[in-house]
Each structure stands twice: as C-alpha cells, then as structure tokens.
C-alpha cells in the first residue's frame, strides 16, 4: 500500500460524506422497485481529526416496521477510509471504504483477496472473513442477513 500524506480534517470529512451520499444514492436506486420505504435522516459524528459534523442515515422499513438503518460511523477508520454500519433487527454488518487493495498482512500479503479496486466493501464479522464489493446483489444479501427480511 502506498503511503499518503495525512490530509486535513475538512478534506477527510468531505471525501467521506461524498462517498456515503453516493452509496445511499445507489441503495435507494437498488430498492426503488421493492415495497420497502427508504427515509433519509441525519446523525451527528464526532471525530478528533474532523470535529463534529452531520452525516446522512438511511432508515429502511416496511409497513411502519423498521427493518434496518444505515448508520455512518466515521471517516477515520483503521485500514479504511470510512465505515457505515447496517444495523438490522438481527445483526449489525459493517461496510468499509477500502483503497489500494485494502489492509495488508506481513510480506505485503492482502488481507482480503477480493479487494481489487477502491470502494465500499462488506467486511464480514468472523474469522477468515471475506470482503465483498458492495453492489445490488451483495447489498440485498447483507440486508437480508441483517434484517431477516425476505424479498
């Protein structure tokens, strides 16, 4: 992984918010033909480097019952350039913005073999975890896993 000079907090925040907004735009698009209701709200994030700021959240529900909420956690994450949690009624799954092939182990070996381009990845919470690029297919899978909702 190439080393990048640390940027100032405002730049980190803006870059993160742009990526979160793009992710949420995609998710709304992926769910637009379903009978799920998607509502955007806001949450406050406090990080040492960026200071306090507001970030969008996405609440996904059906018939007034909340199934999951997409909650931005922050821009300053170890080995990632941001994290968004998917808080379902049954599980909490994590999305990380990985760059330059993602985290490296000793001798430069990639921690996640499937990270081949910069973007949002669903990183599983288990030993020998895999990272799956977030697209419509993987998002539906993780949403079902977090909420037990059947399409």
């Amino acid at each position: 992984m190439t080393y990048e000079e640390p940027q100032d907090g405002e730049q980190l925040k803006q870059r993160y918010l742009t990526r979160v907004n793009q992710l949420f735009f995609d998710i709304k698009n992926w769910l637009k033909d379903t009978d799920l209701h998607v509502e955007q709200q806001e949450t406050q994030i406090a990080e040492v480097l960026t200071g306090d700021y507001l970030a969008p959240t996405l609440s996904i529900s059906k018939n007034q019952e909340k199934l999951a909420e997409m909650v931005p956690i922050g821009a300053c994450i170890i080995e990632a350039e941001g994290r968004v949690d998917v808080e379902g009624g049954f599980r909490i799954e994590h999305l990380s913005y990985l760059v330059n092939g993602g985290p490296r182990l000793s001798a430069g070996r990639k921690m996640f073999e499937d990270v081949d381009s910069d973007g949002w990845y669903w990183v599983e919470n288990k030993r020998n975890a895999r990272a799956a690029a977030v697209n419509q297919s993987s998002f539906i899978k993780l949403f079902k896993q977090a909420s037990h909702y059947e399409f």
Binding site: E87, G89, F90, R91, I92, N125, K126, R127, H148
Partner: protein, 100 residues
Amino acid sequence: MNSNPLDPIWKAYEVSIDSFEIVQEVIKQQKAHLFTGSNWANQSNARQDVVATIKEIEALFVFSLWATFDRKNLQGFQNLEGFVILTTTTFPNEYESLAL
C-alpha cells in the same frame, strides 16, 4: 492444540452474535413464556436491549482481542534475552507516588 490466544475470543464473539440472532427470532415469534423471569418488561424493550447489547459486545470483544494481543506481545518481549520491561522492574524515584 491451537496456540493462538485470539481464537477463543473470536469463537466467543461468533457464538454471542449468533445467540443474539436466535433471541431476536424468539422475540419476533412472540414466545412470551420464554421471557418469564427475565429482566425485560416487554418484548419491545427486549428487542431494543438486544440491539444495544450487540453494539456493546462488539466494543468489548475488540478490547479483549487488543488486550490479549498486547499481553502476548509483552510476554514475547520478556522472553528475549537482554530485553528489559521497565514496568515490571522497579520504578524510578519520581514515579513512586504513581506506583502506589
């Protein structure tokens, strides 16, 4: 025998998360008799409490992984010949009050 001290912590985490998932399914199926004797007043509270507990558990397990990893490193350094761990030897005079 597996000597990785982090494995049991990972295992406990996975079992805990899977158990919470089963509890949430029980709540969803409204098996009220299973809540007799629990600390939850009603099923709505139970669901919120479980979600909050998952978040708390995640932080605790990360802390446990970090602490165990750190302890293992420290033990490794202590076994190196000639390596002195200051915190396990006597404190310099100026730190005596802190040590007490």
